[in-house]
């Protein structure tokens, strides 16, 4: 019995926690996910890998509500996500019950990250193989927030971030193109970042928008298609504008 108490996550001689790093590999293989914070909205976008013909796609929700003012998207092992999401939902209600106040985004992020860290320092368990993007509005200040956690249990706040497959390309795109936006512009920025790494089209992308008044709203496929078309048109116009001046010289 004592033999199985040994931690799976132990230090390597050069100070690495290999299990945690392997968990990060699992995240890197997961579907692309992006989050962008605007002044009055926060947008989450997730890549939808092609659904098998016989599967009911409504049962595969990748962007979930944790509370009326908090939502989460993640990249990595979806079964691990289910467990963490369930614990987070319970904590959101438990917090409301004990202190009669809704959680702040930072609180619930710290809670989820704390859970992830616990599993890097316990006997016989492996870390959770997912990175979560957590969005929400602070119930007191009304400020929008975007946080990211990872399998090691670290978390931090972001203006925009990406995780999962090709997250580096998406992050580079966001670093180049991020500016303070609001409303539809924020949605467009998130979709443009996703389109860098995902086949374009409403059926390959899942987008949800959180506003202070109405909480989380999942966009319909038709809406996403319309915005994608707008983006493509803007891109084409920009290309044409680039070619035009050189003709005048």
């Amino acid at each position: 019995m004592a033999r199985y108490d040994r931690a799976i996550t132990v230090f390597s001689p050069d100070g690495h926690l290999f299990q945690v790093e392997y968990a990060l590999e699992a995240v890197r293989k997961g579907n692309a996910a992006v989050g962008v914070r605007g002044t009055d909205v926060i947008v989450l976008g997730v890549e939808k890998k092609s659904t098998p013909k016989l599967q009911d796609s409504r049962s595969v929700r990748k962007i979930v509500s944790l509370d009326t003012h908090i939502a989460l998207a993640c990249a990595g092992l979806k079964a691990d996500a289910r467990v963490l999401i369930n614990r987070a939902r319970i904590e959101c209600q438990s917090h409301r019950l004990t202190v009669e106040d809704p959680v702040t985004v930072e609180y619930i992020t710290r809670y989820i990250a704390g859970l992830q860290q616990k599993y890097t320092q316990s006997g016989g368990v492996r870390p959770f193989g997912l990175s979560a993007l957590i969005i929400g509005f602070d119930p007191y200040s009304g400020a929008p927030a975007l946080y990211q956690t990872d399998p090691s249990g670290t978390f931090s706040a972001w203006k925009a971030n990406a995780t999962g497959r090709n997250s580096n390309s998406m992050r580079e795109f966001l670093e180049k193109n991020y500016k303070e936006t609001s409303g539809q512009e924020t949605v467009k920025l998130a979709i443009r970042a996703l389109l860098e790494v995902v086949e374009s089209g409403g059926k390959n992308i899942e987008i949800a928008v959180m506003t202070k008044e109405q909480g989380l709203r999942q966009l319909e496929e038709a809406e996403i298609d319309a915005i994608v078309a707008e983006i493509e048109a803007e891109k084409a116009a920009a290309e044409a504008a680039k070619k035009a001046p050189s003709k005048d010289s």
Binding site: R61, S65, L66, D67, N86, R89, I90, C92, Q93, S94, R96, L97
Partner: protein, 204 residues
């Protein structure tokens, strides 16, 4: 001394409760809201031990919300009533909650419903129900005047008749009442019936 009563009408369910918070001979406040909005389409009117009332109903409310987040759809009224009764039954032979509950709800497929849940975990689906000393008067009044499919106006008139009876016939009757309704558009406060308002700022 606490009065809670309710009835089912045409496309709505109504719960009325007194609003005094009392400790032996002292009235803490006369505008205590004892009808909790459980979720968008459910009302929970509760009477009983003050601490138990709030603790238990808040616990039920948070668990009903948790179900909705976990499953993406709200609990039906019948399911919520059975869950509430189950919690009371579990606690009954350990440390019982002294809370009597009238749970009113509206479901899209079956319309309005009212559940009577008492402190020893009795559960009945009813058209009209009442708890407390006031029930002696309000039940008799409702037995005389209630019929199924009452309009909102008829129902509120009946509630007012019951309140008049309670006020005239109960020795220490509560001064103020709150009335809440739930229909297809959701649960909301309908009206207050006050005889004592909170003290105004004293004028010079």
């Amino acid at each position: 001394m606490e009065c809670v009563f309710g009835l089912v009408g045409d496309g709505f369910a109504l719960v009325a409760a007194d609003s005094s918070a009392v400790n032996s001979i002292l009235v803490h406040k006369s505008n205590e809201d004892k009808i909790m909005i459980l979720d968008s389409h459910k009302l929970l009117g509760a009477s009983g031990e003050a601490g138990d009332r709030v603790q238990f109903t808040e616990y039920i409310q948070k668990n009903v919300h948790l179900y909705e987040f976990r499953n993406g759809i709200p609990l039906s009224t019948a399911a919520a009533a059975n869950f509430t009764r189950g919690e009371l039954a579990q606690a009954l032979r350990k440390s019982p909650y002294s809370v009597n509950i009238l749970l009113a709800g509206y479901d899209k497929d079956i319309g309005p419903s009212l559940y009577y849940i008492d402190y020893i975990a009795t559960l009945h689906k009813v058209d009209k129900g009442a708890f407390g000393y006031g029930s002696f008067f309000s039940l008799s009044m409702m037995d005389r005047h209630y019929h199924s499919g009452m309009s909102l106006k008829e129902a509120v008139d009946l509630v007012d008749k019951c309140i008049v009876e309670i006020r005239t016939r109960l020795v220490v009757s509560p001064p103020n009442f709150v009335i809440k309704i739930v229909d297809k558009d959701g649960a909301k406060e309908y009206a207050w019936r006050e005889t004592i308002k909170d003290a105004e700022e004293p004028t010079a």
